[in-house]
């Protein structure tokens, strides 16, 4: 029996390959049409990672070094769900980000801003049965980049998620609701719809806030889903 395919990308929801406002896309965007590939076993399978991939402090970016990093400590938590609203359990979530001064712990980031010896900016966790994840980190700073005159990236955290198959893979960036830099950022603006962009903005969440410790931000992530009908029918069989 053929595998149940995943839903195709909803037109008008994802950034185009060529987006000249983001200069680096010009020489790195295929110009020939993509070839539609029906989902075979090779597409509906994918790597599944167990907890042995994780180190003890991977989900707490503020405790990976001798001392606490400088900056506003915060909790970033949310759910990974699919397009049918179902939790994606047991999936690897990875994040990376700049420090509170807007500098990455990276040899190629030579910007004139301090490094923080107590902050590498990398985190990893696996979602629980309800698709939930939770990181403790510090609020990333803004950083300038060379894309255009007076270009600054909004504060953001990079997210990488796998989901249950090869086609559910997602890499996105989490932004902060109300950040004044958002409309000037060509990477944020490459997501075509306002609803889609808004979905990438974490919201301050009083319930996630830990008294005396740090503010909470909620960020939910949506992965590709399968068409609801056959999937639901299958569910009822159990």
């Amino acid at each position: 029996m053929d595998p149940i395919p995943y839903r195709r990308e909803t037109p008008g929801t994802q950034p185009p390959a060529l987006w000249p406002d983001y200069r680096s896309t010009v020489l790195r965007s295929p110009r020939k049409p993509l070839i539609a590939l029906p989902h075979t076993l090779s597409e509906v399978t994918g790597p599944i990672f167990s907890h042995d991939r994780l180190q003890p402090n991977d989900a707490d970016l503020t405790s990976q070094h001798k001392d606490r990093p400088i900056g506003d400590r915060m909790i970033v938590a949310g759910r990974v769900i699919d397009e049918n609203g179902r939790p994606v359990a047991g999936t690897l979530v990875e994040i990376w980000q700049a420090n509170s001064a807007g500098r990455y712990f990276h040899a190629r980031d030579s910007r004139d801003a301090p490094l923080d010896p107590n902050f590498t900016g990398g985190g990893r966790t696996i979602t629980d049965d309800a698709g939930q994840y939770r990181f403790i980190t510090i609020k990333p700073g803004y950083y300038p980049w060379q894309n255009h005159e007076n270009a600054w990236r909004p504060a953001h955290i990079h997210f990488s998620v796998f989901g249950p198959s090869f086609v559910t893979r997602l890499i996105c960036q989490m932004y902060f609701e109300g950040d004044p830099m958002l409309p000037f950022d060509p990477i944020y603006m490459s997501v075509p719809s306002e609803a889609g962009r808004k979905q990438l903005c974490a919201a301050f969440d009083y319930d996630l806030t830990v008294p005396g410790f740090g503010l909470g931000y909620r960020f939910d992530i949506v992965l590709r889903g399968r068409d609801a009908t056959p999937f639901e029918a299958d569910d009822h069989a159990h």
């Binding site: 987006w19 590939l37 990398g122 990079h158 990488s160």
Partner: protein
């Protein structure tokens, strides 16, 4: 209904997290199958090396079985082989992967897919990952592979073919071109 979150580039600074140690070593000495080394390169539309690319690979084991619950084909999972690799390109846009040659995998209907490796390309300037496949030049089953057959321009099928090293067997060369006249075939999955 929610829709898939909007993609973004990995940017140039993913190295602290994504390419984990030995990510290009997918198989060990105990892994069943024919060991191979893939010597890859990633180039932009002007054939400049892309020194900040990340490549992910996903493949079946030597018996053509994926290490995943939805693979209900007969055959056994090789405990020494997950089938996933992740490797960053170096300053020359080059990457090295040590794995085993995958077996053929069922396609749709009664078809069979020739041995292939699923490839994802991420980089600064790539807003959404690019998906392609690696096949083995001269490999058994290529001429009947249903996915290669989707590519009407036969010359473009060549862009998916890893080429055997003329001097050393088991070494395969594979170049990804993100644009330009010899642009690699990328798939919409």
């Amino acid at each position: 209904m929610p829709i898939e979150s909007g993609w973004a580039t990995v940017g140039p600074f993913f190295h602290a997290v994504l390419p984990w140690k030995d990510g290009g070593v997918m198989a060990g000495p105990e892994t069943k199958g024919e060991p191979i080394t893939i010597l890859g390169r990633v180039l932009d539309a002007e054939e400049n090396p892309i020194n900040d690319a990340l490549i992910e690979l996903w493949q079946a084991n030597a018996g053509g079985k994926y290490n995943h619950p939805e693979d209900t084909q007969s055959g056994e999972i090789d405990p020494s082989f997950q089938g996933f690799g992740r490797v960053a390109a170096d300053a020359e846009g080059s990457f090295t992967v040590k794995t085993i040659k995958p077996g053929p995998v069922r396609g749709l209907g009664n078809s069979w897919q020739a041995p292939h490796i699923q490839i994802s390309v991420f980089a600064r300037g790539v807003l959404k990952r690019l998906v392609t496949r690696l096949y083995f030049e001269g490999g058994p089953g290529n001429e009947h592979d249903p996915v290669l057959a989707l590519i009407e321009d036969e010359e473009r099928r060549e862009t998916l073919m890893a080429k055997p090293d003329p001097k050393e067997s088991g070494r395969w060369h594979f170049t990804l071109r993100l644009g330009g006249p010899r642009e690699t075939v990328f798939f919409d999955v």
